[in-house]
Subunit: 179 residues, 2 copies
């Protein structure tokens, strides 16, 4: 059910991941949803976001660790995302993005899950860069994260992976200079 929920969120966010959709996609009996997730949709979605977070941290870490020079690390990361978005036929985005843009004020619990996911990702990215001071590395990692989320949007509308490679080239310039 967690995998089905991640898939639905990547396609159409919170609104696409209703209990009925999750039941249909996962093939699990409806009763089992409330057995495993007594708090219903918010609980499934929270756990699915946390599960995705672990996977994307590994994905990002591996891409950044694959190269040594700062500019090469950035290019490797954005190339990996460019491949990822093309493999999903430009229909699958980052669920952190899709769910963030569906947040309502009453979903504070989910907002905190997303904020934590972004914070963890930023900290991981920052560890790969040394800009002379940790605050600058954190800030650069924030820009990398912002750019990844934005590129997912444009790739989907433009049916192209170019927003990732384009952003990667510019951020590589900053990385080469900064560290």
């Amino acid at each position: 059910m967690i995998e089905a929920t991640i898939g639905l969120m990547r396609s159409s966010g919170l609104s696409g991941a209703g209990i009925n959709d999750i039941v249909r996609e996962s093939g699990a009996p409806k009763g089992s949803v409330y057995h495993f997730f007594p708090n219903g949709k918010v609980q499934i979605v929270s756990e699915a976001l946390e599960s995705y977070s672990e996977k994307v941290l590994t994905f990002v870490d591996q891409a950044l660790a694959s190269k040594h020079a700062p500019a090469d690390k950035i290019k490797a990361l954005f190339s990996a995302f460019a491949r990822r978005v093309a493999e999903g036929d430009f229909q699958k985005s980052c669920p952190f993005g899709t769910v963030s843009l569906d947040l309502e004020r009453e979903l504070e619990e989910l907002r905190v899950v997303l904020e934590t996911a972004f914070s963890d990702l930023k900290a991981l990215i920052a560890k790969h860069f040394d800009f002379g001071n940790p605050r600058r590395a954190q800030s650069f990692a924030g820009l990398v994260l912002t750019t990844i989320e934005g590129a997912y949007i444009r790739c989907r509308a433009e049916r192209s992976a170019r927003p990732f490679t384009e952003a990667g080239a510019w951020l590589a310039e900053l990385a080469a200079r900064g560290s």
Copy 2:
């Protein structure tokens, strides 16, 4: 009805802008929706996105035109977006982003509207920068656009305008160097 549709899309994308929601928010009688928009939801949403596009082009043009030096232009633009997102209490995002992340394959008509909106915005931004060659200015404008869309996501999850000011500072460095 167009204004109501824009407001709904900025909050929760395509899924939030159903005909019933639009009728409720606009106060218009339900019959009038199909009178003015015989093709229903896709038509209203398309026209609302085009209407928003005109407004955001003016908003971006004014912010960029308010300063002369490239780095100052970027800082002015991202400060303007930081104010905009805070004024919306971090609940209102760019409808291009929210709708892009709700796109389904059968909504090709809407995807083209979004692609055009992004293309127009990129062309407008590029006009304000001279990187020695037009392709580099276009590519930088693409990065600016990507960053704006991504910052809207993070601002919403983090309830903070910092992703805009943070990105503005970095992109101002690139602008200062590049032109």
